[in-house]
Symmetry: C2
Subunit: 320 residues, 2 copies
């Protein structure tokens, strides 16, 4: 009898693949590096090897699998069920669903990875019970997922929720690799936080300076979050500034969507109150009372498991 789902979180760096039960719990998972500069057939081969290994290590076989859900770091064409473009993977118009269904003989469903993160949080994480959600992932870039009436909203060509390139600066701002300036991503992503920290490191004191030297005259976003939590003033200020930018942008989004819940995930969300306090304050200043009174801002709960759980939820939502 079928009882499990395979959820795959395909990233530019690694592939996470997990066996998920129908309550949304990960039974067991694997993380392997993503094949670099290879055709998509290599990635499909790795999916196969990982699935076989995971099934072998547990008590399951393909007969127990309802289906496979996959989160993709790129744009999907939902009319043809293909990956339209995944820049980091070098993919263009890949018929992934079709090829995998032929290979495995179980249903395969695809979704953009920012959307699977949102679905994962809605199923078993911070969004449990909510059905009108904006989910932001603050990582290298800023991804977003919009959930309306309990479903991912794709818009007319699958781009709904791509909020990283909302223009937040009225004039100027940092140059974005999208070609514009002053995008949400250039002002509040992990990448922008690292850039700002590197600009200010020479005037910085103690902790940050030490860590910068230790890492060979550079610093990771993860370290900046850790240093902020240890009280480093430069790191705290830079994360707080990102929080303020995010809070204002979220208020503006709420005028359009009036969600009940905003979930913030990704590496920078681990800064906790250092990020959330200025973010909530800016949100309250820019969102009118009627708009904000039914909207909560919360931290994501599933961490980097959200992708696997959300990918599995694609299949779970179709089981009756």
């Amino acid at each position: 009898m079928k009882s499990v789902i395979i959820g795959i979180d395909l990233g530019g760096t690694s592939i996470k693949l997990g066996l998920v039960n129908i309550s949304g719990q990960i039974i067991q998972s694997l993380e392997w590096p993503t094949p670099k500069n290879k055709s998509y057939h290599e990635v499909i081969a790795v999916f196969g090897q990982m699935s076989e290994q995971l099934l072998r290590e547990t008590v399951y076989d393909w007969g127990d699998v309802f289906g496979v859900g996959i989160g993709i770091p790129g744009f999907l064409d939902f009319s043809t069920c293909t990956v339209f473009e995944a820049v980091n993977l070098g993919w263009h118009q890949v018929p992934l669903k079709e090829e995998l269904e032929r290979l495995w003989d179980v249903p395969v469903l695809l979704e953009n990875d920012a959307n699977t993160a949102a679905l994962g949080e809605m199923w078993t994480g911070a969004g449990k019970g909510a059905s009108h959600i904006i989910c932001l992932t603050i990582g290298t870039g800023i991804g977003g997922g919009v959930i309306i009436n309990g479903n991912i909203y794709h818009g007319v060509n699958g781009s709904a929720g791509e909020v990283g390139h909302i223009t937040v600066k009225e004039h100027g701002g940092r140059s974005c690799n999208c070609g514009k300036k002053g995008c949400l991503e250039t002002e509040a992503s992990a990448t922008s936080i690292v850039l700002k920290t590197l600009e200010q490191v020479k005037e910085a004191s103690g902790l940050l300076k030490e860590e910068y030297a230790k890492q060979g005259n550079t610093i990771t976003a993860k370290s900046i979050v850790e240093l902020a939590k240890l009280g480093d003033p430069t790191c705290k200020t830079i994360i707080a500034e990102a929080g303020t930018v995010l809070g204002k942008a979220l208020a503006n989004m709420c005028y359009l969507l009036n969600p009940e819940l905003i979930i913030i995930g990704g590496g920078i969300s681990y800064a906790g109150e250092i990020l959330f306090e200025p973010m909530s304050e800016a949100f309250r200043s820019f969102a009118l009372p009627r708009l904000r009174q039914n909207t909560a801002i919360v931290q994501a709960k599933l961490g980097n498991q959200a992708g696997i759980v959300g990918a599995a939820s694609l299949i779970h939502r179709n089981i009756n």
Copy 2:
């Protein structure tokens, strides 16, 4: 046999009531002033008188009426089918649907007036055939309606689409009656266009100065639109600036919703290319290619009939 719908567009100044057929055409309509500083029972009485007169003037009676749809200038509570608040009418928690259904014995449906305008345009106007739409009405304020999968999206407490108070200025901006500064409404509504024109009228030349004197040292938004179309440079520039602000704000909205269509209505939309050309240019600059390639910006078609048609569509959508 039932064959017509009554659509009511309740405004702060006037009540428009029309008899609409099942193709969305207005058979006949009336416009009466809204009773001022009276209880809502007075408004209900006027609805009754207007309906009786309209039915009497045409070949119909209540037996022919499928139901009555009403657009309300305020917030609705969809869980209790009441008008939560309509500031311009002085209404608070009015059980309008219940009272009218008892009175007329036909189904009555309510909706916010920005949303009925959007529904009207989708039924027989500029949005015919589209199902992912953002509709803006640029009038005294700026109202908005969000249509998702062919339905009005309300959000968690009915505030979705209230885009007039999106903050568009990074610093400063005009004070808004919402308590904030630099709202979309304070930068691009008819009211803000009048204010800016009055500020600049002293340095203005010819046409504008004459009209200003003729109107007793003031000027209406309608005149500003007309003067701009006649080539007055001050009026053209001020409307174009509003267009630029709107275009950028619309681009930001599209990152969240990726609609297929943006419909611009309200008095200022009659400026045509003077408004639409800078608006579209700003939209193209701030919306990435993938986002804008499937999104058209068009002028509303139904003018001030959109409210009646959209109100009637509330009932039409429930006829099978």
